[in-house]
């Protein structure tokens, strides 16, 4: 009979393995849509990890905003570009072992160093406590109010920039004779 905490720990390790495997698949796929679907799997497993770590609000946001909104934006752009088979053969040409071996080796060395440093510091005792959305909201609109205002400014800037870039593209497509 497993204790509940042990079961939750296994949930963490299993979803960590799923996250790592699906992320490896994301960076190795040739077809962009396949990579996006693997990315959604990775994000969902990270959301599960958030839930296990007592952050249900962050888990919900991860599913709604990352897996929901941001990935759908990527899907829309890929659909608009309409790449097809030609892009896949191009990717196959680019992804030769000589190309990916060097950077992957360097990233692997960095990852091993990070893991070595983190594993060498010993185990920090943790007192598990679930952090409710209410606590997060109180912190967000209390000490972090200035950050919220800055984030709203950032979102406004993103909105204006996306509108500006998208509008210019639309004008050059419509062929009104504007040869600027």
């Amino acid at each position: 009979m497993l204790r509940r905490e042990d079961a939750m720990n296994s949930v963490f390790y299993i979803s960590a393995a799923v996250a790592i495997l699906s992320t490896v698949m994301v960076i190795t796929r040739l077809n962009a849509v396949h990579a996006l679907l693997y990315m959604i799997v990775s994000l969902l497993s990270v959301a599960l990890i958030f839930f296990v770590l007592g952050a249900p609000f962050a888990a919900a946001l991860e599913v709604i905003i990352y897996a929901g909104a941001i990935m759908v934006l990527f899907v829309f752009v890929i659909m608009m570009l309409n790449l097809g088979e030609r892009a896949r053969t191009q990717e196959a040409l680019w992804l030769k072992p000589g190309t990916w071996m060097g950077p992957s080796l360097l990233a692997l060395v960095l990852a091993l160093e990070l893991v070595y440093i983190l594993a060498g510091t010993g185990v920090t005792p943790v007192t598990p406590a679930e952090i409710t959305p209410k606590q997060v909201g109180i912190a967000l609109f209390g000490p972090y109010l200035l950050g919220v205002e800055l984030a709203s400014l950032l979102l406004l800037a993103g909105l204006v920039a996306a509108y500006h870039l998208g509008r210019r593209a639309g004008q050059s497509d419509s062929g009104t004779g504007d040869k600027s």
């Binding site: 990270v46 752009v77 912190a139």
Partner: protein, 102 residues
Amino acid sequence: MASLPMEHGLILAAILFSLGLAGVLVRRNIIFMLLSVEIMLNAAGLAFIVAGYAQGQPDGQVMFIFILTMAAAKVSVALALVLQFYRGFKTLDVDAADRMRG
């Protein structure tokens, strides 16, 4: 609720971050590079959540929300740029944009 050592969560974040870094370095397709940057941002968010879990404080989740906002703004601008890029160069190869003024 799990009772994990904080280091295991941080190791997972480090591995995911390195995978994203490898993706940025290896791929030449600009969409895959953006996706890899998303992986790295997500790993940073995971590190914040793990830190908040270890301290029992909501600050980690607050920082995760800020990272989420930043990622959303970045993706909207970057994908609009990708559309412009594809209209201009008819390819998604980042090497096509190695000169100023196209």
